[in-house]
Symmetry: C2
Subunit: 232 residues, 2 copies
Amino acid sequence: MIQPDPEDLTARARIRDAALLQFGEHGFERATIREIAKAAGVSSGLVRHHFGSKQELRDACDEFMYRTVRKLNDQARAGLIKGAFGDMTYVAAARAVLLPYQKYLARALADGTAAALFDQMADMTEEWLAMADEKRADPPAAGLKTRATVLTAMALAVPVLHQHVSRGIGADLFTPEGDREVAYALLDLYSHALMTPDDAATARAALDTVWSKPPPADRDAVIRSFEEQNDD
Amino acid sequence: MIQPDPEDLTARARIRDAALLQFGEHGFERATIREIAKAAGVSSGLVRHHFGSKQELRDACDEFMYRTVRKLNDQARAGLIKGAFGDMTYVAAARAVLLPYQKYLARALADGTAAALFDQMADMTEEWLAMADEKRADPPAAGLKTRATVLTAMALAVPVLHQHVSRGIGADLFTPEGDREVAYALLDLYSHALMTPDDAATARAALDTVWSKPPPADRDAVIRSFEEQNDD
DNA sequence: ACAGTGACTACACACGCGTATAGCGTCCTT
DNA sequence: AAGGACGCTATACGCGTGTGTAGTCACTGT
């Protein structure tokens, strides 16, 4: 998928590539070694010969994706003028490279496998967020790393929940049309605060009271009325 | 888990509850009917007797979660003063009710099963966003439903990627401490725009040029240099 | 020439799993 | 009191799957 002709790749690389696609399409459990081997044009025994076991094959896939994303991140760090949004070349190129592996990435992130990959992206978000903090007037209500982690998760939500997003926007997320639609929505959301800092402070205070003293009447009423549906 | 003593539930409800937990903990494929039956204190045959097949058991779980969330949403709609952030009672109660099923919800959303559930939350987000739009000065850069869909995905990112978020903040997301930490971060992020509308317009324009004419030199260079790592 | 090494295949094994079936006890209905 | 319906168990079947083993072929260094 990276190079135009898969025939040029070594068998090992072809197996890994086929595994990435099969794991992405059907998930790790439902994907079978035999089907991966068939897609790669090799025997199922060769998969074992190169990777040892199905789990190790998955590990190799994760490792490969980690290296790929790291390379892209390094390039972005080197090429992108910090804080400028005028150059989307690397962003677009990175997305083009990762496109065939989006479904694998989504699954790997969702089931918690790709920890190193997430942390890598969180680190990059943290750098970016630290710069944004400098222009900021009021002190943040949470630590830098915490906000970076949450923000990273939010940014990854779109590919991870791509099925729902695609359904919601009425276009496949992995086509240029869907991608553009979502990018516009993201830029709009990122450039407009959803609530005022005062609202946030109010909500924070309200949450504190809820947490500190478990409100007896209301909350129990919710749970109790909820239980009533539970009569099957 | 809803009621204090699982023994009081009917066998069918106990099976569903055990399935929710097992599916959440191990995933649909890895979870076995036998283990679910054991956790529910029944024979494996009874699972089949009540639900027919493993897939139908999963469907029943999805249906149950859908009804649960709908009930909570209806209560939130009825009880919450629109646009006010001072009353977090229902939010806290809803989270308490859903807590044991968070992992199931995360998995169901990630693999695209719980479509109706996502759409339901997206509808609610859309209502909320429509109100927020009224106070807004500049016209949105994307349709209401598109923004609501993306925003819903972003809101769900934290539970879906809970493993990574927990690791990043150094505390389990499903404990009061982790929950509070993340809530503060979310409120901070929601109350502060990450970029100015001008930045967004610049980025939009940049994206348009990238998409309209595929830039030959730079982008290919990125992809080419990426391929060079691909020598295993 | 020749052993050795690694890529690669074909085939068989063992086991876990979803599914199917037969049967038992109990409660409600008529 | 008969009898069916239902909740529930025990046991077995069959298939798909990851894994293991033996063997072939090609290439390399000595």
